[in-house]
């Protein structure tokens, strides 16, 4: 636990694997930048790894004022204990007020270990963050400018706002794809600060014996938003529209069996009884009639938008928003509306 430090920076844990920065870290840099400006403090990124110094440029371009880099061969591959040691040491040294992590497999392994050691609060899987005041209902004490950690709970049935008023740093993991990934500004300037952290006693505990990573797997399970196309999309060319909409939403692309069987898209995208079962925060069904086998794989999505020419398509029976119309007209309107949305 560190003392509340109102001048403390807003930090992002910069997750990288094999020298590639995770997208969520850059998404978080954008949000952290926004919050740091609001709090009138600096924004920092913590970058542990081996031969990763060059990544600091991208972190700075996305908003970091300071990049705290610990470059050590022992940090080449992620292991919980050495990484937790680095983060805890740097938190103790620099006393940030907020530390954010991507809610990736790695982030969700690391952040709780750090939180426990720092005796700090941690909220998992946030879908939004804000800065605001909080009044303790019992003591009536008001805490100004806390990190508001917003997340669905209870299987998505409620949305809770969590605060950590008394113990710092305030920490949260944030779902991938929920914060907008801004275009970095290569002209921004910032400092690369090389830190040394002793890893004595934590490097030999767990050894990685074998390691395997898959490239570019379709990650439907982990997607917060899915845009899926069905037989109604009609052609491979039209399917580009599905990809375009997914692009602006930061969504994964799914498909019904009809679309897969007619060769519009690969089987790894199939959602439904014989494909993947998903429950994203938002599911956009485009030109999918909604056979029971498909609905079984997606009806537990928190919100469903159905776009279909046929007003009687069964997909509307599970939809929250129904748009009866031609997807070739509706999707471009959606893309436009999303691009214009006020933030």
């Amino acid at each position: 636990m560190i003392e509340p430090n109102r001048k403390g920076e807003v930090w992002v844990f910069a997750e990288q694997e094999d020298g590639n920065l995770s997208e969520v870290s850059l998404e978080l840099c954008g949000k952290a930048r926004e919050m740091a400006d609001r709090l009138k403090v600096k924004m920092g990124a913590v970058l542990p790894g081996y031969r990763v110094r060059d990544l600091s440029n991208r972190l700075i371009a996305h908003g970091a004022d300071n990049v705290y880099c610990v470059d050590d061969p022992q940090l080449e591959y992620y292991r919980t204990l050495p990484y937790a040691r680095v983060i805890c040491e740097l938190i103790n040294k620099h006393k940030p007020q907020i530390v954010l992590y991507g809610a990736t497999a790695l982030g969700r392994d690391l952040a709780p270990r750090v939180a426990s050691e720092m005796k700090a609060g941690l909220t998992a899987d946030c879908t939004d963050l804000d800065i605001g005041d909080y009044t303790d209902p019992k003591s009536k004490e008001t805490f100004q400018d806390l990190l508001l950690q917003i997340r669905p709970a209870f299987g998505g049935n409620i949305i809770a706002t969590i605060v950590n008023p008394r113990r710092w740093p305030q920490m949260a993991t944030v779902r991938e794809g929920v914060m907008r990934l801004a275009d970095g500004n290569p002209k921004r300037t910032g400092d690369l600060i090389l830190e040394k952290v002793s890893l004595d006693g934590v490097t030999g505990v767990v050894k990685i014996v074998e390691r395997h990573r898959e490239k570019q797997k379709v990650n439907l399970k982990g997607a917060r938003v899915i845009v899926a196309g069905g037989g109604g999309v009609g052609s491979k060319e039209n399917f580009q529209l599905i990809y375009d909409l997914a692009g602006v939403l930061g969504a994964a692309v799914g498909a019904s069996r009809a679309a897969v069987d007619s060769g519009l898209i690969g089987k790894e995208h199939q959602i439904g009884q014989t494909g993947t079962t998903v429950r994203p925060a938002l599911y956009v069904a485009c030109g999918i009639s909604g056979a029971i086998q498909h609905r079984a794989g997606m009806e537990e999505s928190a919100k469903i938008i159905a776009i279909n020419k046929d007003a009687n398509a069964p997909i509307f029976s599970v939809a929250h928003y129904g748009i009866v119309g031609d997807l070739n007209k509706v999707i471009p309107m959606m893309i436009k509306a999303i691009k214009e949305r006020a933030r």
Partner: protein, 304 residues
């Protein structure tokens, strides 16, 4: 060599089948309004522990923290093969967040004395945080292996395990003791054994016995009731049917780190309760209609 395994299990509201008001006015979960089930991934943690005992010998102890009704999942552990079941229950543990919960559970595990592997489900379906496992490991001062898919090798004091990290996998090696969080793809949980159900369906913790006695002997004095509870507990214990019950003193917990005071996170507000959709909103296929829909999705945090 044999191994002593501990499995942390949780009784959770079945969030997939929510009925009634899910939340109380103070922002905490109204568990009474929800059907309670065995947290799905914890069943896989139990199976992993039973697998270790089958291959290498040793013991499996199930631990849960919760109200006395959580004995339901402990009995289920006994039905499926656990050797011992412990209920950690204490009003002062109420409203614990993941940090306080991991502290209390780690105290319970330390109270057990010797242990080799602690198994937890990856996450519970009520909070989906996946934080209690790693936080317990830190409190116990032992390494963690999250997302366990398979124990590749267990020999002497060294374990090799395969973790699934979503975009791939890795095999890690570490010394015991270790805490592992288990995925639902790790194994197929065995069903409850009929013989064990017959044997353990009468297993009770003292808090449950007390509730039974209060109901069955409403006229009896407090002293008489207490004597009856002790008598029944002793009887169950002699037949190895007593579910051990520990409070915060029994596990030597520092109250400052338990319950509300031990929880750094506070619920500020609950913004909406979406129970079940009723029909759907018809969105006109116009720019204005679609803009309004997108706006609604931003306001309710569906879109970031």
């Amino acid at each position: 060599m044999s191994y002593d395994c501990v499995v942390c299990v949780k009784q959770v509201p079945d969030t997939a089948n929510i009925t009634g008001e899910a939340m109380k006015a103070d922002g905490t979960v109204n568990r009474a309004a929800l059907p309670a089930i065995f947290n799905p991934e914890d069943l896989h943690a139990l199976e992993a522990a039973l697998g270790v005992r089958e291959t290498h010998g040793g013991t499996v102890t199930a631990v849960t923290m919760g109200p006395p009704t959580a004995c339901e999942v402990l009995r289920d552990c006994l039905y499926r093969g656990a050797d011992r079941a412990i209920l950690v229950t204490d009003r002062r543990a109420a409203a614990s967040d993941t940090l306080a919960t991991s502290y209390i559970l780690s105290r319970a595990v330390k109270t057990l004395g010797k242990f080799d592997i602690v198994f937890c489900g990856r996450q519970a379906i009520d909070g989906d945080t996946a934080q209690v496992g790693p936080q317990m490991a830190e409190k116990l001062g032992i390494p963690q292996v999250t997302y366990l898919e398979q124990i590749v090798e267990l020999a002497g004091r060294t374990i090799r395990a395969r973790r699934n990290v979503g975009n791939g996998w890795e095999i890690v090696e570490c010394r015991l003791p270790v805490l592992m969080t288990v995925l639902d793809t790790a194994n197929q949980p065995r069903p409850a054994a009929a013989k064990r159900i017959m044997l353990y369906k009468r297993a009770r913790a003292e808090a449950e016995i007390a509730a039974d006695v209060a109901q069955q002997m409403p006229q009896a004095s407090a002293d008489e009731q207490a004597r009856e509870v002790s008598r029944r507990a002793a009887d169950l214990k002699s037949r190895k049917l007593l579910i051990e019950q520990w409070d915060l003193e029994d596990i030597g917990a520092d109250l400052a780190w338990c319950g509300m005071s031990g929880s750094p996170t506070k619920v500020h507000r609950i913004q909406s309760i979406v129970l079940k959709k009723e029909g759907y909103a018809e969105v006109p296929a116009t720019e204005e209609g679609i803009r309004k829909m997108i706006h609604e999705l931003i306001v309710d945090h569906t879109l970031g």
